[in-house]
């Protein structure tokens, strides 16, 4: 048997990568898999392990339940914010793909909001948009408005403040993804198009845009999934005036002391993420990336 001539250490070395990955998998099972199962238990089973819809009922009909509003606002915010973010980020990425002096410093500035927490972002715009905030002061001193615009404690204005803050905070994520994708496109691809007679617009339309599509889709997926978890900005700017799913989860857990309901909210967010992620992957797929035509 030729197998017997191979030393044991060599035979075992085949399993080295698995040994290296094992701690990660064990950790993930314990800290994500187990809590996920536990979360379902909390949401749908009582202390004695019997199936119950009590938490579902509380979520839907409990006193002060804002579930449908939370669902509506979470989706509405995503629907308003994401298209604006993607457009701005796309333009910004094209801009930063050009050569200009001070590019690095500008780049680091543009990504600054990525390094702060959503709570901090909310507070920053609370400073900006307050009654005595910079926004109102500058407009009044320029004579554009005579009375300060009140953003807080008025539902619709709070919504606008959240949209502004989220665009300010999270456009950078989309920007980074598209920018990275843009930089991966070989310069010779544009130049070839230029040599063969394409105008600036044609180069964008036929070369840059289709090559960038995968990055654009990645940005869209990531941004959408993060949008369902929106919490810190809303909580600091509007509290429960504008209810969102993650905010209601937090409220159920810390104020109502109902972990079952909180878990249910969290599971809804997870379910929504998985469903939308799957949809995106199904409908977007760059044709040229599929092998074996």
């Amino acid at each position: 048997m030729p197998n017997e001539e191979i030393p044991t250490s060599v035979k075992l070395s085949k399993y080295t990568p698995y040994f290296l990955i094992l701690p990660t998998l064990a950790y993930m099972v314990f800290f994500i898999g187990y809590p996920l199962v536990q979360g379902i238990m909390l949401a749908f089973f009582d202390e004695k392990g019997r199936f119950t819809l009590e938490n579902v009922n509380y979520l839907l009909y409990g006193p002060g339940s804002l579930f449908w509003d939370a669902l509506k606002y979470t989706i509405l915010l995503a629907a308003v914010i994401i298209p604006i973010q993607v457009s701005i980020a796309f333009g910004l990425a094209l801009l930063f793909n050009l050569r200009f002096p001070g590019k690095n410093a500008s780049l680091y500035t543009v990504i600054l909001p990525l390094t702060i927490s959503d709570v901090a972002a909310g507070l920053i715009w609370y400073v900006m948009l307050g009654q005595y905030g910079f926004f109102n002061k500058i407009l009044m001193n320029l004579g554009i408005i005579s009375h300060p615009i009140i953003f807080f404690r008025i539902k619709d204005m709070e919504f606008i403040a959240i949209v502004i803050t989220e665009i300010w905070r999270a456009t950078a994520i989309v920007f980074i993804i598209i920018y990275a994708g843009l930089q991966m496109i070989s310069h010779e691809y544009y130049e070839a198009a230029e040599v063969f007679g394409a105008t600036t617009w044609q180069r964008f339309r036929y070369i840059v845009f289709p090559l960038l599509l995968p990055s654009l889709q990645a940005a869209l997926i990531i941004r959408t999934l993060f949008a369902f978890q929106i919490f810190g900005v809303v909580w600091t700017l509007a509290g429960r005036d504008i209810p969102v799913l993650a905010g209601e989860a937090y409220y159920a857990q810390t104020e109502l002391l109902r972990p079952g309901v909180a878990s249910l909210y969290a599971l809804i967010i997870a379910g929504l993420s998985i469903a939308v992620g799957a949809l995106y992957i199904k409908f977007f797929k760059a044709k040229y990336l599929e092998a074996g035509m």
């Binding site: 543009v110 901090a120 507070l123 400073v127 300010w168």
Partner: protein, 279 residues
């Protein structure tokens, strides 16, 4: 001859027009992002009388009083807690994630692609889902309201990112360097520690900063898992319900300063890292 000059002139006009438009757009983008930071820092330090005067846009008198008040309320402790949690998160996530990152960068093995896809998918999983059930578990284990407990949860959140980043960094160190080490008498572990690790160190340091920022900024899990030993964002989140405007400003100020430092220390690396992890 005249034709040549004509072409050149219109070229020059176009050239400068283009430059001005680009500079203008960049200036708008930079101002839009930077101004709120600047104004937050200014107003957090401003004298209340001047702030409440609608005619004064940029105050002239400054005070540390608001920051001081926030610190008295417990912000200093919370900051220390945040640092401890972030450092623990770095330690745990690197201890567990670095070997996996190495495996993905250096080995070909069955199931590699699906495992990698799993990690990639996990990075987008809404980690807030684990917070509430984890608290139930933590009560049993005595980890509720401990910094260790928060750090362990943050490790779960950071792990996919750490694996993707470290495998990217290690893949960037040519395998030949390591093989040369093997040929000249090192074993695989020795080759990693003596050759690959020193070469990957700047990248790994940046990855550590990246992990720090992730943990430093996470609020939902931290807020759910702690009641007394709060991290800074959880502390502020809990505080702002009934706080005065200036306490809120000071809160923003205190959370923003470290971020500014990080970007100017490791900005270049951070851009690349987001590029890797978000692809």
């Amino acid at each position: 001859m005249s034709r040549e000059v004509l072409v050149k002139k219109s070229d020059i006009v176009k050239y400068y027009l283009r430059k001005i438009i680009i500079a203008g757009l960049v200036a708008i983008a930079v101002t839009w992002v930077a101004l709120p930071f600047v104004m937050t820092i200014i107003y957090a330090l401003s004298d209340p009388d001047q702030y409440y005067d609608p005619h004064i846009v940029i105050p002239t008198r400054y005070t540390l009083e608001h920051i001081h008040k926030l610190i008295v309320l417990g912000a200093w402790n919370a900051t220390i807690n945040s640092v401890i949690v972030a450092v623990l998160t770095i330690l745990f996530s690197f201890a567990i994630g670095l070997p996996a990152g190495y495996a993905f960068a250096r080995y070909a093995f069955k199931g590699k692609d699906s495992l990698k896809l799993f990690i990639v998918a996990l990075r987008m999983f809404p980690m807030m889902v684990i917070a509430v059930p984890l608290l139930v578990l933590y009560f049993k284990l005595g980890l509720a309201d401990t910094l260790l407990g928060i750090a362990l949860a943050h490790t779960a959140m950071a792990l996919p990112f750490v694996i993707l980043i470290t495998s990217g960094i290690i893949a960037g160190v040519p395998v030949e360097y390591e093989e040369a080490g093997l040929v000249f008498g090192l074993n695989r572990i020795g080759a990693f520690f003596r050759i690959t690790l020193p070469l990957a160190l700047p990248g790994l340091a940046a990855a550590a900063i990246f992990t720090f920022i992730m943990s430093w900024n996470e609020v939902f899990i931290a807020a759910v898992l702690s009641f007394q030993n709060r991290t800074l964002p959880a502390f502020i989140l809990n505080l702002i319900g009934g706080a005065t405007d200036f306490i809120k400003f000071a809160g923003a100020f205190i959370m923003v300063i470290p971020a500014l430092v990080f970007v100017f220390v490791a900005g270049k690396y951070l851009v690349r890292m987001w590029g890797i992890t978000l692809k």
